[in-house]
Amino acid sequence: MTTTTKKSNNVQNNALKGWLAQRITAAVMAVFTLIVLLQVIFNKGAMGYDKWAGIFSSQWMKTLTFVVILGLAYHVWLGMKEIYMDYIKPVSVRLTAQMLTVVWLAGCAGWAIQVLWRV
């Protein structure tokens, strides 16, 4: 096997992993949406602080939401990388945008997780 083939196999492998991760995180978020929606509709009482915060107060919901926040950050990273690859031609600008996006998303995920454990 030549170096070129190895290299392109690697690129394809990474692209396949990204594609799969995008699908898996999407599925998790879709299920999460349904679970939150069902609780909004079927939990007792009018919508207000108690009912809304109550949805996220149980341990299983916290754990699920935690996973969704991490999955969301990864999903957004994969999607934004695709947009950058299509529209930003200069490598230096693209890599800078990608790097800033990683830092930004890590910060957003940290913020959301901190909020989650305040409930």
């Binding site: 999407a26 207000g48 602080y49 934004m80 957003c108 913020w111 959301a112 989650l116 305040r118 409930v119």
Partner: protein, 146 residues
């Protein structure tokens, strides 16, 4: 190789103008779903701080929850409440379109029957129907019609 000098050069399409060229493209329903899938994702990425801010205020305490609802009822920073409702509506549409279009993709991933040309068009139209109806229903709720 020797032939190529006699042939007229193949046409090259570069530097497509977004205003004079892109507007002449006749986009299929699937093409619209696709570009709006990307656009809606970008909108949600740009508004991510606002989304987390809403999550923060709505869930931290009763006091912050009141602040959260006041944003949409009273407004903030000189902007009226309906302005923030419109931003929320943009997020609602973005989420619903992105979700529906994403489910369409997942369907195409698992079913060979779903990758035909006719299914591409009918499922794209269904994507618009589902996301617009749900957006309209939630918009009516958001602006207090029911």
């Amino acid at each position: 190789m020797s032939d190529s000098s006699h042939k007229s050069p193949r046409p090259e399409f570069r530097n497509i103008n977004a205003f004079t060229d892109l507007t002449t493209y006749r986009m299929t329903a699937g093409a619209w779903v696709s570009i709006l899938h990307r656009a809606s994702g970008a909108v949600m990425f740009l508004l991510l701080p606002f989304i987390i801010w809403m999550f923060d205020k709505s869930i931290s305490s009763e006091f912050s929850y009141a602040k959260f609802t006041a944003l949409f009822n009273v407004g903030a920073g000189g902007f009226p409440g309906w302005f923030f409702k419109l931003i929320a509506l943009a997020l609602i549409w973005s989420y619903l379109h992105h979700l529906t279009a994403g489910l369409r993709h997942l369907w195409m991933d698992v079913s060979h029957k779903a990758v035909t040309k006719s299914f591409a068009t009918s499922s794209a139209k269904a994507t618009f129907a589902i996301s617009w109806v749900l957006t309209a229903a939630l918009a009516a709720k958001l602006f207090g019609l029911y």
